[in-house]
């Protein structure tokens, strides 16, 4: 069987989080009663005209700058002409040969090594409305009729297109994770794939390793999560590899990812879909940013995820892997730095976040932003652990309690009696009891079996319901067992 490699290009559509739509003053919000966020412009009424949203243009330029793309000194909107009932004008105002951004790259990290994915273009266009295929089965092919809601029509949409530099499903995932983090840091989109504010199509082909020319390109659509992109790409690469092994020729086509069945299937290719009859949008003058405007935007760029992770390693001494975990998404990095600012020990804080906190979030399926746990909580917990007020075990319980009801950590420690017992008298009594109850192990220790001390400390912890300070318990045990052999 021939050794083949996957050649993957990703085409992402990002809905910008502007207040109003791209070409009209209607609110840019998700959902709402059908056809209540529309006006003559976004309904394509005769005589209405588009006027571009400056904020959308600036967001697009920021995305391009963050990706290191070249900003066009003269960029044009074009009309992409094709008929579909979710498009009020039956043409989409998009960009063609003069996009706002060209070139650039996104560095992704796969299995500890960095790969550079080159960018093809960053362009701005308008979103379409939403179609419901109504009918008995719900399958498009068997629908009796369709219903159109134009609330989403005209929402600003940025298209970020990579070069075919992605080589595996894992890299595809890493690319999306990194792009999403970048967009989140720029604060230009909600980047919620479930709500469609971040959408991704993949162009997949395979070729024999080392071959220069690309294989037959297949466009895969309809993935609604990063995970489904990874799955769809994995499936498609395998499908193509097997086809080649069986000596079958691949056809250039668009395929639909079926999340439920975990397969891609061909969409009947639209007869004249390829002929979009692009021409310059005569209703819109060109976008010609001068040096000053571009530099102003460049200066406004926030610290980007890659730099921030580098800083986490240097400034907070985090392991690169740990820095990647906390710095993966802007919200986590912000949470982490806030906790540190409030006095948390960086490394323990990172550990708590990516360990127990992450587990709780996953378990209850909430995201960090909407959870009851605050950076202040994490700061308190690390503080109480390091000054010995609570044990790691106590801390785990405290975090769980805080996660449940958002109470203050000290309050929880009080209420649940999680404070460690460190004062000698209280602990001494427990130690005496343990020595008395475990003559065997005590003898073994005295006989030189050092290891047994661990068991005895365990007993003390058990007897104290985890409240004992283990270091202190061990000190007292040794004292008791070595000081006076006769006793007991």
């Amino acid at each position: 069987m021939t050794e083949v490699e996957a050649v993957i290009g990703l085409e992402c559509h990002v809905e910008l989080s502007t207040r109003t739509k791209m070409f009209c003053g209607c609110p840019n919000e998700f959902g709402g009663d059908p056809n209540t966020r529309v006006c003559p412009v976004c309904l394509g009424h005769p005589g209405s005209l588009p006027v571009p949203n400056r904020q959308a243009i600036e967001y697009t330029m920021k995305i391009a700058l963050a990706l290191g793309s070249e900003i066009a000194r003269s960029s044009l909107f074009h009309r992409k002409n094709y008929f579909y009932p979710d498009m009020p004008k039956n043409y989409q105002i998009s960009q063609y040969d003069l996009p706002i951004g060209t070139g650039g790259h996104l560095d992704i990290d796969v299995g500890g090594e960095t790969r550079r994915i080159r960018m093809n273009r960053v362009h701005l266009e308008e979103d379409t409305g939403k179609t419901i295929h109504a009918g008995t089965t719900g399958r498009i092919a068997e629908a009796d009729y369709a219903l159109e809601d134009y609330n989403r029509a005209g929402v600003p949409l940025v298209e970020v297109v990579s070069e075919p530099d992605v080589r595996s499903p894992e890299e595809a995932r890493a690319y999306l994770v990194e792009l999403r983090a970048l967009l989140e840091a720029l604060d230009v989109s909600d980047v919620r794939m479930e709500e469609g504010s971040l959408r991704c199509d993949a162009n997949v082909s395979v070729r024999t390793v080392g071959a220069e020319e690309l294989g037959t390109k297949v466009e895969v659509k309809n993935m609604n999560s990063i995970r489904s992109v990874e799955r769809a790409v994995r499936y498609e690469v395998e499908r193509q590899r097997e086809a080649l092994d069986r000596g079958q020729a691949l056809v250039q086509e668009t395929r639909h990812w079926d999340e439920g069945r975990g397969v891609t299937s061909p969409l009947r290719s639209k007869e004249y879909a390829f002929d979009y009859r692009y021409f310059p949008e005569p209703d819109l003058p060109p976008v010609e940013p001068d040096e000053e405007w571009i530099e102003k935007l460049r200066a406004e760029l926030p610290e980007l995820p890659a730099e921030r992770r580098r800083r986490f390693v240097e400034e907070y001494g985090l392991e690169p892997a740990m820095a990647r975990l906390v710095g993966g998404a802007g919200s986590w990095a912000d949470f982490f730095e806030e906790a540190v600012r409030l006095g948390a020990d960086p490394r323990p804080a990172a550990n708590w976040m990516t360990g127990d906190l992450a587990a709780l979030l996953r378990e209850h399926d909430v995201d960090l932003r909407s959870s009851k746990v605050t950076p202040a909580h994490v700061a308190e917990i690390t503080a109480l652990v390091s000054d010995g007020t609570i044990s790691t075990t106590g801390a785990k319980q405290a975090l769980a309690a805080v996660f449940a009801d958002g109470r203050g950590v000290r309050e929880v420690v009080e209420d649940e009696g999680l404070a460690q017992i460190s004062d000698t008298s209280a602990l001494g009594a427990i130690v005496e009891q343990v020595v008395a109850d475990n003559p065997g192990p005590v003898e073994q220790f005295r006989g030189g079996k050092e290891g047994v001390i661990g068991f005895l400390v365990g007993q003390v912890m058990k007897a104290s319901k985890g409240a004992a300070n283990p270091q202190e318990a061990q000190r007292l045990l040794r004292e008791r067992l070595t000081a006076d052999p006769q006793a007991g």
Partner: protein, 97 residues
Amino acid sequence: MPVEIDVDHVARLARLALSEEERERFRLQLGLILEHAERVREVAAADVPPTAQPVPQKNVFRDDDAPWECLTQDEALAGAPEAEDGRFKVPRIVEGE
């Protein structure tokens, strides 16, 4: 000489149902009109830049201010040939179209 146009193909692209008579007439008329129009090539030299707008402008934008007032659902659907549940109703969309 007159330009040959595949009127069927173009009519499909334009989503325009034409009668047999219309197809034939347009084929002839458009052939002649295009023959006349093609004269633009005689003068459109490579060094001549195209003009999209008679009075050139650039960077005309809207501020992303508070949203304006939208149409109500009833106003939006007022002219709809068919509607259902606040949405515009259309015949089935054949897959891929």
